[in-house]
């Protein structure tokens, strides 16, 4: 069946798709977004039940393979030490994200020039700065101006008061102070006062399985209501199989499966891919044609290559006194003491420490059992009591450099419920990343002990931590070395745009979503400015 043609077709209603819909709506073009998942009802989130921990490991698991919803697609990540995490629904990954909301540093756009590795971006921090600011307004940011690790970036009218330090972050701050190291209240996409109709945070503590209070800025409650009120049509349970081309080599629409499983064709004048760093290469590689036998817009051969994750280290300390337990959002403070390159550390580039507060009783027990601190049997309760509400710690988010052999390809046998080939991940941890993880674990342990921790538990790389998906359709000015140009348009197909994490040239050492959204605003702004000659 064929649908009425549209001007702009956005695929994916996550962090970046929502931004594009909202930013383009003022053009009065007919805009449709196809999203494979559903709207999530906040009253369904795990934190509305006493069994919230169990549900966050099951139907709200960060792993699509574990969740296994009809709206998910399977991912073959057996060839990777890090498994893909995501959420497939309106809001995309922001439904489950923690709301840590750092910006890139200016140096992150000049990696080659400054450190001789990877590539420089074709744009710089100054280009994105106004779009970061616009996005901050839409998402609603809590934080504190004056962080010496970052350029000044807050207007007073944008910023909400920072999240509470509580006992956990205070303990860690003492440790960082004792070491003479930087820390600062995190920029968080979590409302601490009423913002754009959203209620302030009430410390539910289950941010990673959706915010029932609506304080956390997921795009289903930030951008989407505004975009839809102004006329964007969002069709859920619509999974795109492939993007098609006309004889002139322009994208002319997509084949998708609607909520009843029926095959539909949606004609479009412009196609925007916002399906994330795994979904986008999957869709491009599955869109083969005579012109592009190796996948759409893939003359460079780089679609699906250079996958970057951010290897994570998780470091937790046990304190002698009770802290916050599971109460309060994970986001609280960060340290960028080790962010910029210092070769004397034994690796290039750097990482951010993000403190993560505590955990619920079931997670505490699993941590203790997993690290040999809680035995089975008689001593279970005594040893559990030593950990109960006394654990806090941090993650280190290590910059991952692009490497051609880290890839998303199409699996030969695994398919989703519509028979579309599943993505296969092949990823190895680089020597530089391994050294960075080891260094980060050692420093974190020092800070935790200095803050009073008596026992340390670490893990790296974090196996479940493939939640930042970047680099698989990188941007650049040279069509031989990149998939999209410096404003997100495919070099090979002049009405095809990519706006999600795929277009990252490098990953920086921070969570990516604020930058993904700033890029989506920037690209759609470029489109608006060029409407008369968009395809030249």
């Amino acid at each position: 069946m064929s649908q009425q043609p549209v001007d702009v077709l956005i695929i994916g209603a996550g962090a970046s798709g929502a931004v594009a819909a909202w930013n383009l709506v003022e053009t009065r073009m007919r805009i449709v977004c196809l999203e494979q998942g559903d709207w999530v009802n906040p009253s369904d989130y795990p934190s509305t039940g006493q069994d919230w921990e169990a549900r966050s490991w099951g139907e709200y698991s960060v792993s699509p393979n574990r969740r296994g919803r009809a709206t998910d697609y399977p991912v073959n990540d057996t060839d990777s030490p890090i498994a893909v995490s995501n959420f497939n629904g309106v809001g995309g990954g922001t439904i489950l994200y923690n709301g840590h909301f750092p910006r890139f540093h200016p140096s992150d756009f000049r990696v080659k020039t400054l450190d001789g590795v990877a590539d420089d971006w074709p744009i710089d921090y100054a280009t994105l700065a106004p779009f970061y600011a616009q996005n901050d307004q839409m998402m609603g940011i809590a934080g504190l101006a004056g962080d010496p690790a970052n350029p000044p970036h807050f207007d007073n009218d944008v910023l909400m008061p920072p999240l509470p330090l509580g006992k956990s972050a205070s303990a860690m701050a003492r440790g960082f102070n004792a070491q003479g190291w930087h820390w600062w209240p995190s920029d968080a996409a979590i409302a601490t006062q009423e913002h754009d109709g959203r209620a302030p945070c009430i410390n539910l503590g289950a941010c990673l399985s959706g915010c029932a209070q609506g304080a956390k800025a997921s795009t289903d409650i930030t951008y989407w209501p505004h975009a839809m009120r102004q006329g964007v049509e969002l069709r859920t349970r619509c999974r795109v199989r492939e993007i098609t081309l006309d004889d002139a080599g322009m994208a002319n629409g997509v084949w998708y499966y609607d909520q009843d499983g029926a095959e539909q064709f949606q004609q479009a004048a412009v196609v925007i891919l916002a399906t994330n760093g795994v979904g986008t290469p999957r869709l491009m590689l599955n869109s083969k044609s005579e012109r592009f036998p190796n996948g759409l817009a893939n003359s460079s051969g780089l679609v699906g290559k250079n996958l970057m994750f951010h290897p994570y280290a998780m470091i937790r300390g046990v304190f002698p006194e009770a802290l916050d337990g599971h109460r309060g959002p994970g986001a609280c403070i960060w340290s960028q003491e080790f962010y910029e390159t210092d070769l004397s550390r034994g690796f290039v580039r750097g990482f951010t420490f993000e403190m993560n507060r505590g955990m619920g009783p079931a997670a505490t027990a699993m941590l203790g059992l997993g690290h040999g601190r809680i035995p089975w049997g008689e001593d279970f309760h005594r040893m559990y009591a030593r950990l109960h509400e006394r654990v806090t710690g941090m993650v280190a988010i290590c910059e991952d450099l692009p490497e051609l052999h880290n890839t998303v390809t199409l699996d030969d046998t695994l398919v989703d419920s519509h028979g579309i080939p599943a993505p296969k991940i092949s990823y190895t941890l680089s020597d530089n990343s391994r050294k960075m993880l080891d260094y980060a674990m050692a420093r974190a342990a020092e800070a935790l002990r200095a803050g009073g921790a008596t026992d340390i538990m670490s893990e790296a790389p974090l196996g479940v931590g493939g939640w930042h998906l970047m680099g698989t359709a990188r941007m650049g000015v040279d069509p031989a070395k990149s998939v999209v140009n410096e404003w997100g348009r495919a070099h090979d197909v002049k009405n095809l745009f990519v706006i999600d994490g795929s277009i990252f040239v490098t990953s920086a050492g921070v969570n990516p979503t604020r930058t993904i959204q700033a890029l989506a605003l920037y690209i759609t702004d470029c489109m608006k400015k060029r409407l008369a000659n968009l395809f030249d």
Partner: protein, 156 residues
């Protein structure tokens, strides 16, 4: 809640006995802390109702395989000491079947009203009441505020 194990659960008596034994071997009762064992009827019922049939079948099969290797008989035929020997084996195991079962037992145990109460936690959903978190020691930030900017400045 009744003290009966749900009769409509798709598990036979031998499977239920095995599950109860392993759960209690992992988390026994501790009267001094007012903590029930994980085979307390209410918790066991939760475990059996929550379990995906395939997961429980897998742990039962795994334990029976182990029993054959270690004891040369089925779990059901083992005596109390032999069962404890098996439990010790399981405690050190990293097999996916065991990890899955441990996670299941822990999930069900730590959402039980009595367990939460004994830990000093309110037995309730986080939403809508939420929690208080103290503002914390903001004066700790004063030293950091005095620090000069240290991000790399980059030419355009």
């Amino acid at each position: 809640m009744t003290n009966n194990i749900a009769s409509d659960a798709p598990f036979d008596a031998a499977q239920k006995e095995l599950v109860a034994f392993v759960a209690a071997a992992m988390i026994p009762a501790d009267a001094s802390r007012n903590m029930p064992a994980a085979d307390h009827p209410r918790i066991l019922r939760d475990i059996l109702q929550t379990a995906v049939a395939a997961e429980l079948a897998a742990i039962c099969a795994y334990v029976n395989r182990l029993a054959h290797n270690v004891l040369g008989c089925d779990f059901a035929r083992a005596n109390f000491d032999q069962k404890n020997e098996l439990a010790n084996n399981l405690a050190g195991s990293n097999a996916p079947e065991v990890r899955g079962f441990v996670s299941l037992v822990v999930q069900c145990y730590f959402r039980d009203d009595r367990v939460l109460g004994a830990l000093g936690l309110e037995a309730r959903a986080p939403f809508p009441k939420g929690y208080d978190v103290p503002t914390g020691e903001w004066d700790l930030l004063e030293t950091v505020k005095r620090r000069q900017p240290f991000y790399r400045v980059v030419d355009r």
